[in-house]
């Protein structure tokens, strides 16, 4: 809400500068977001009110806080005496939605622009001056927070008002010229035939005040906050009136507001009250809150001067009703629907004393050893491992769209569907990502387009799908490599381009760090965004948890990526389930090892992994390690063949092995390898 500094000072005679006032209001919980000079000697304060402070959406409401804070009196505006005489005809059909309705009839004496001072004040508070009558209703809205509405009495069919729910499909043209088709949930102000206003939200065009208006009906009412809010949102019509009713307008101010407007109308010679008033509704029972002073001090952790507390609470309209033993009972004013229990009052007490006065203490109480969620710890472990392997972590948004998913050839898992955003902000963000592949490829493109071409990135994030009725959030890890894996250096000017083995090596490293190297295998088919021949599935303990491979060239091209891109995306839950915290100590060998090398020529189709696994299995317990140290194909070995250089390490935990015994062991193993894989020793 925008409010004039000078206007506030006319109500409470404080001396502080606008800047100081802004700071003080902020510390009272009425945050001043902006402060601008206005005219020659005024300032406009932009007060950002929290939704619970409907009582402060007015000059008087803010002034009430200021007067208590500075200990200064405040001047209340003058109201007209209750008029006597015949009352206008009003019927309220739904008191739940309209707890109070008051009406006073006035005769219009002149319709003209308001005096300058009033126009200035309205403009300072962000309202557009219209004419003397509408301006006075708006003036009271700003001054007291009570929305009012003036109807052209002669435009009301039957000269009466009925407050009722709209009929389905009933129509109204609003002051702002929009035509609405209403529903039964809307509360309307109607004449005998039709709605003339959308209650608490906006008046109708037909019955608005015009040059022709001779008699007017001034409405001061209180409407159900939730109902006003629903109607206002249903049609997207937000007004100064609906803003205030949504936040709750006190029961009492309906009549006070009207009488204030009548006083201003008569005083300015704009209109004259004719006849009496109508006032329908039943005042709500007054509410009280009892406080245990010692308990409140404990709760806030501060000592309080209760005489001061009581006087300040009274200042903001919360008087002490009674004192019984230690308990204090306070009356809650009708304009503070937000105050319900002792905690609410504790906030008022702390606020008025100043949050600055609350001391700093440290929680005592029970201390239990904290234990983080395993998922948090595991993500941290993954992050540590992957960064130590030279990868940088990215953070991308959780949304995607069909175009991106199609572009990378994404296929949903069997029986799962996408999750859509109901109210997306743009075409880009319509789908919750079922995979991080598109966002990672977009990150690569962003960098490559800026000539940052050597990239080794990862991200840990959630992906989302629907499985039947069930929403599935999977935490995944994605790793992408492109360009050089070893950067250019003067001693090695070409650097080293990464390939699939850098990626599989990272997976192996990760598996080794998680102590489950033995449990992970590369097998089966890869995902569609990869070249089929280069891709493989990832398995852990017999369960597929992801895939790895080189991104297919059409997908890469769609993301402007020319260098090969290597990508793996995997579920981290299976990894987490299988990961081991500790390794069991394996005794360091005490006796020397004996090495033997073998150059084995086999058909190209025989997989190296199979040969190594076979050797490990058949080598006997003295064979400690089998390593592939060379691999080549070409003219030298003949077409369709490949040569593997394999290193064997024999070692005993009990003694030094002799050459003879190793020769014997090795010869037997080589024979088995040769016969099993139809190979030849080179």
């Amino acid at each position: 809400m925008k409010v004039s500094y000078k206007w506030l000072r006319d109500v409470v005679p404080f001396e502080v500068s606008a800047e100081q006032l802004a700071d003080d209001l902020t510390m009272l919980g009425l945050e001043v977001e902006g402060l601008e000079p206005w005219g020659e000697d005024d300032h406009i304060l932009d007060v950002q009110l929290t939704p619970n402070r409907g009582d402060c959406v007015s000059v008087l409401g803010i002034a009430r806080e200021i007067s208590v804070h500075y200990g200064l009196p405040m001047e209340y505006p003058r109201l007209l005496q209750m008029p006597k005489g015949a009352s206008p005809k009003v019927t309220v059909e739904d008191y739940d939605l309209c707890p109070r309705y008051t009406g006073i009839v006035l005769e219009v004496e002149k319709l003209e622009p308001s005096p300058m001072w009033m126009q200035m004040r309205l403009e300072a508070c962000g309202l557009r001056p219209i004419n003397n009558i509408v301006d006075i209703t708006n003036y009271v809205l700003v001054e007291m927070g009570q929305p009012l509405h003036a109807f052209d009495m002669d435009m009301l069919v039957g000269g009466e008002i009925i407050v009722r729910r709209a009929e389905e499909g009933e129509r109204i043209v609003l002051i702002e010229e929009r035509e609405l088709s209403l529903c039964v949930d809307d509360l309307v102000i109607a004449d005998r035939e039709k709605p003339v206003a959308l209650a608490g939200v906006m008046g109708g065009r037909e019955s608005e005040i015009s040059e022709k208006t001779k008699r007017m009906l001034l409405e001061g009412a209180s409407f159900n906050p939730a109902s006003v809010r629903r109607t206002s949102r249903r049609y997207g019509v937000v007004s100064d009136s609906s803003y205030r009713f949504e936040r709750g307008v006190g029961y009492n101010s309906a009549m006070d507001g009207s009488l204030r407007a009548c006083w201003l109308l008569q005083e300015s010679g704009s209109a004259k009250v004719v006849g009496g008033y109508v006032d329908l509704g039943e005042a709500p029972a007054s509410r009280t809150i009892s406080v245990d002073p010692a308990g409140m001090q404990d709760f806030l952790g501060m000592e309080l001067n209760w005489d001061e507390v009581i006087s300040k609470l009274a200042g903001i309209g919360i008087p002490l009703l009674s004192r019984k033993g230690d308990a204090l009972t306070f009356k809650v004013p009708d304009f503070r629907p937000d105050l319900k229990d002792e905690a609410d009052l504790a906030e008022e007490v702390a606020r008025l004393a100043g949050y600055d006065e609350i001391p700093e203490s440290f929680p005592s109480g029970t201390f239990r050893a904290p234990k983080h969620a395993p998922m948090y710890l595991f993500q941290r472990r993954l992050r540590d491992t992957l960064t130590s392997a030279g990868l940088f972590e990215t953070a991308t948004l959780s949304f995607t769209n069909h175009r991106e998913l199609d572009r990378c050839g994404y296929k949903l898992p069997e029986g799962e569907s996408l999750i859509y955003v109901e109210n997306p902000l743009s075409e880009e963000f319509t789908v919750m990502r079922p995979t991080m592949v598109p966002s990672m490829l977009a990150v690569l493109r962003h960098n490559v387009n800026r000539k940052v071409e050597d990239l080794a990135l990862f991200e840990i994030g959630n992906t989302y799908t629907m499985k039947g009725e069930e929403l599935v959030e999977r935490t995944k890890l994605i790793i992408a490599l492109t360009g050089r894996i070893v950067p250019r250096h003067w001693s090695f000017p070409q650097g080293f381009l990464g390939d699939t083995y850098d990626l599989s090596g990272i997976i192996e490293f990760l598996a080794s760090e998680l102590n489950l190297l033995e449990d992970i295998t590369f097998e089966g088919e890869g995902d569609l965004y990869c070249r089929a021949e280069s891709a493989t599935g990832l398995y852990i303990a017999g369960r597929r948890f992801g895939s790895l491979g080189q991104v297919a060239s059409d997908v890469a091209r769609a993301y402007d990526l020319e260098n090969p891109v290597f990508l793996t995306e995997l579920d981290i839950i299976p990894l987490m389930d299988c990961a081991r915290e500790v390794r069991i100590y394996q005794p360091v060998p005490q006796y020397p090892a004996v090495e033997r090398d073998l150059a084995l020529l086999v058909d190209e189709g025989v997989s190296a992994g199979e040969i190594l696994a076979f050797a490990r299995k058949e080598g006997g317990e003295l064979l400690r390690e089998v390593r592939l140290f060379d691999l080549f194909t070409g003219k030298k070995v003949g077409k369709g063949k490949k040569s593997l250089g394999i290193n064997f390490l024999y070692q005993s935990e009990e003694r030094t092995l002799t050459d003879e015994e190793v020769n014997e062991l090795h010869r037997k193993l080589v024979d088995k390898l040769v016969s099993k894989f139809k190979g030849r020793v080179r």
């Binding site: 939704p51 629903r230 949050y355 959780s398 109901e422 070893v486």
Partner: protein, 336 residues
């Protein structure tokens, strides 16, 4: 025998001085002095066959030859290593070969930093789903339907029901439903709002919230806890400032600021002339929330707080544009 020894000495001396590197030298040493079948060793072993009167003289000679060879080898070894040292004098103006180590994303590093601060005060991390029901995201947290409090958070809805959580508070609800008091927990995570991407808004950002429930938790404890956090983040001189505010799930509620470390409250460009940096919201847990999770049967009070990690990270590293955090330019990722 004598001639044999002198010839060996001469030849070995030549070979030693001719050795161009340590391994060649080692080769010579093994061939001559090797314990098993070094040439000199073999000669020494055959001394037993000599007539007794020749033995002392030859024995003496053998020792002399051995000493001379050893000396020559060690001198050559020293010379060779000196030559080598001269060859590799490094030019340290050349860039070194740095180890390749990556970096976690700034958001996660700041998250971990905050988690560690609170871990030290007994708080444990809990996580929860990012797509939530309105029940956990709003109703349990005392957001009445049709109340303007719902406008405080522009919500993204899931087609067919549910919301993208607008805060990590539903994790607190889920945690309380599963645990008995006393409680100390923090919940970091992604949250969503219907905000268009610009320099200070994003539909996705990150929060960490904390909850402490116990007998006799005081509002002053909240202030003390946040002050401790500020000190660990910004140093012993850091101060927090609470301002009254409103959240449906806390009463009393507060915004908390850190008094600007740069200008100590006077106002400067770092804090946008405010003298304080707005960090987050906090308060004492609302009774309605305790009721929703069945905690009203315990004689407990609670405090809760939450802060935006992205904004904190931006302030810590003086980053002017939120978009940089999600753009993932390698130069940014490696630079902060």
């Amino acid at each position: 025998m004598r001639e044999k020894l002198l010839a060996l000495l001469e030849r070995t001396a030549e070979e030693v001085s001719g050795a161009q590197d340590i391994s060649a030298l080692e080769e010579v040493r093994v061939r001559v002095l090797g314990r098993k079948d070094g040439e000199l060793t073999v000669i020494m072993r055959s001394m037993g066959k000599l007539p007794a009167e020749e033995r002392p003289e030859i024995g003496k000679l053998v020792n002399q030859v051995k000493a001379q060879i050893e000396e020559a080898i060690s001198a050559r070894k020293k010379a060779l290593s000196e030559v080598k040292a001269v060859e590799v004098v490094p030019d340290l103006t050349l860039p070194g070969r740095r180890p390749r180590v990556g970096r976690a994303h700034l958001i996660n590093r700041v998250t971990d930093q905050l988690v560690d601060i609170f871990y030290g005060m007994g708080f444990e991390v809990a996580l929860g789903p990012e797509v939530e029901s309105e029940y956990y995201n709003f109703e349990c947290l005392n957001f009445p339907p049709d109340h303007p409090a719902r406008d405080m958070q522009d919500t993204l809805y899931v087609k067919g029901g549910g919301v993208f959580r607008t805060h990590t508070s539903p994790v607190q609800i889920r945690y309380m439903l599963e645990h008995q008091p006393p409680i100390r927990m923090v919940c970091p995570g992604r949250v969503f709002r219907a905000d268009v991407v610009d320099a200070s808004h994003s539909p996705v950002f990150h929060q960490i919230e904390g909850l402490l429930v116990d007998k006799m938790v005081r509002m002053s404890d909240l202030k003390g806890l946040l002050a401790e956090m500020a000190k660990q983040l910004y140093g012993a001189g850091a101060k927090v400032n609470l301002r009254p505010s409103f959240f449906p799930f806390t009463e009393p509620s507060a915004e908390f600021d850190i008094v600007c470390v740069n200008c100590e409250g006077a106002g400067c460009s770092t804090c946008g002339q405010k003298g304080r940096i707005e960090i987050g919201g906090a308060g004492m847990v609302h009774q309605e929330v305790f009721q929703a999770v069945g905690y009203d049967k315990y004689d407990v009070t609670g405090l809760a707080f939450g802060l935006g990690i992205d904004r904190l990270a931006m302030m810590m590293c003086k980053i002017g544009d939120l978009r940089l955090l999600f753009e993932n330019d390698l130069r940014f990722l490696a630079g902060v």
